[in-house]
């Protein structure tokens, strides 16, 4: 069990993300023929909820810089993830090698 724990956990994480993708179907366009958007960001939905609760509220500050397109935004998100994943890989590689060298040294001694 312990041996396969990581694999099982990883499979569960993938399943948790995949199941909604399969289960939730795009509803048919409403009477105004507008495409219904699914899997939009929760942040965006909260923004819309604010506009329904307080229709008179006007945001008083604009972002200094907005990614000029969705593509650029994706690029920056990928960069953020890559920085993190790169370091995690570096740590894992260092640690695995260190553990192996220690083992070899003990066997050699």
């Amino acid at each position: 069990m312990k041996r396969f724990q990581n694999l099982i956990l990883l499979a569960l994480v993938i399943a948790l993300a995949a199941v909604p993708l399969v289960m939730i179907k795009k509803p048919a366009p409403g009477s105004d023929d507008k495409e219904v958007e699914i899997f939009a960001g929760a942040d965006e939905q909260a923004k819309n909820a604010i506009s329904t609760i307080a229709p008179s509220y006007k945001p008083w500050f604009k972002p200094l810089m907005k990614p000029p397109s969705g593509e650029v935004e994706t690029c920056l998100f990928a960069l953020q993830a890559a920085l993190g994943a790169g370091f995690l890989g570096y740590w894992y590689g260092c640690s695995a090698t260190r553990a192996r060298m220690r083992r070899e040294q003990e066997e050699g001694a």
């Binding site: 724990q5 990581n6 956990l9 990883l10 569960l12 994480v13 948790l16 993300a17 199941v19 909604p20 993708l21 289960m23 939730i24 699914i38 899997f39 939009a40 960001g41 929760a42 942040d43 939905q45 909260a46 923004k47 909820a49 604010i50 609760i53 307080a54 509220y57 945001p59 008083w60 500050f61 604009k62 972002p63 200094l64 810089m65 907005k66 990614p67 935004e73 920056l76 998100f77 990928a78 953020q80 993830a81 920085l83 993190g84 994943a85 790169g86 370091f87 995690l88 740590w91 894992y92 260092c94 640690s95 695995a96 260190r98 553990a99």
Partner: protein, 225 residues
């Protein structure tokens, strides 16, 4: 959990900023002290930071038909104590506010409070509590990371409900509305974050048992259980 730029009234922005600042300063002090005394722990601090970078960039689909992202702050909180994640989370949020127009400078204080303060504190104390009642190591880590993640989003809902109480139902109605958007979406993602954090801790237990012991996270016997 990102409250968008300009979407909190000025008073709230200042209030949450004032509330967050001491935690960030406290966190910086603890991190500096720790690194000065134990330079070998730098690597693990990097791991905690990197983990938050990765997880908060992953927007995952959820059962509610919307997308949200985990926070990744539970790992560092369990390793380095609750305050250490405040400055690290602040860096991530600043990156996203400046370059991605996600969150914002005016809402930075509020977003730091939910993601980099409440989340890590919940994670840290859940871990200590779960360990005190002798739950298995993996279960302690799972609960800490998952609940820390979830409470971050509950905090965001509280913050928005305080700023925008429903004209009819007041704070409660508004909170339920925002929690329906954030917390419910977050449930499966919080579980995912819990699982992923257990995977990382399995690796830490294998490769860095000495550091985990020095950091007072767990002993070798506890990790094997």
């Amino acid at each position: 959990m990102h409250i968008m730029e300009g979407f909190l009234p000025v008073k709230h922005c200042i209030g949450w900023g004032v509330a967050s600042a001491p935690f960030v300063a406290w966190g910086l002090a603890t991190v500096n002290k720790r690194i000065r005394e134990n330079p070998e722990q730098r690597m693990l601090l990097g791991v905690a930071t990197a983990y938050t970078f990765v997880l908060s960039a992953l927007k995952m689909p959820s059962v509610t038909g919307s997308c949200s992202h985990p926070t990744g702050t539970g790992l560092g909180a369990v390793l380095f104590g609750p305050a250490a994640m405040a400055p690290i989370g602040a860096v991530v949020l600043l990156f996203q506010a400046l370059l991605l127009a996600h969150g914002g400078l005016t809402t930075l204080g509020a977003n730091i409070f939910s993601m980099a303060i409440v989340g890590p504190f919940v994670a840290y104390f859940v871990y200590r509590l779960a360990k005190a009642v002798r739950l298995p190591f993996g279960v302690c880590i799972f609960l800490a990371a998952a609940l820390g993640d979830l409470m971050t989003y509950v905090t965001t809902s509280v913050q928005l409900a305080l700023a925008f109480p429903d004209p009819a139902g007041g704070f409660t109605a508004s909170f339920l509305k925002f929690a329906g958007i954030f917390a419910v979406t977050q449930l499966p993602l919080a579980i995912s974050e819990g699982f992923l954090t257990v995977i990382v801790f399995n690796a830490l237990a294998r490769f860095n048992p000495q550091e985990l012991k020095d950091l007072n996270v767990a002993t070798v016997q506890e990790m094997k259980a």
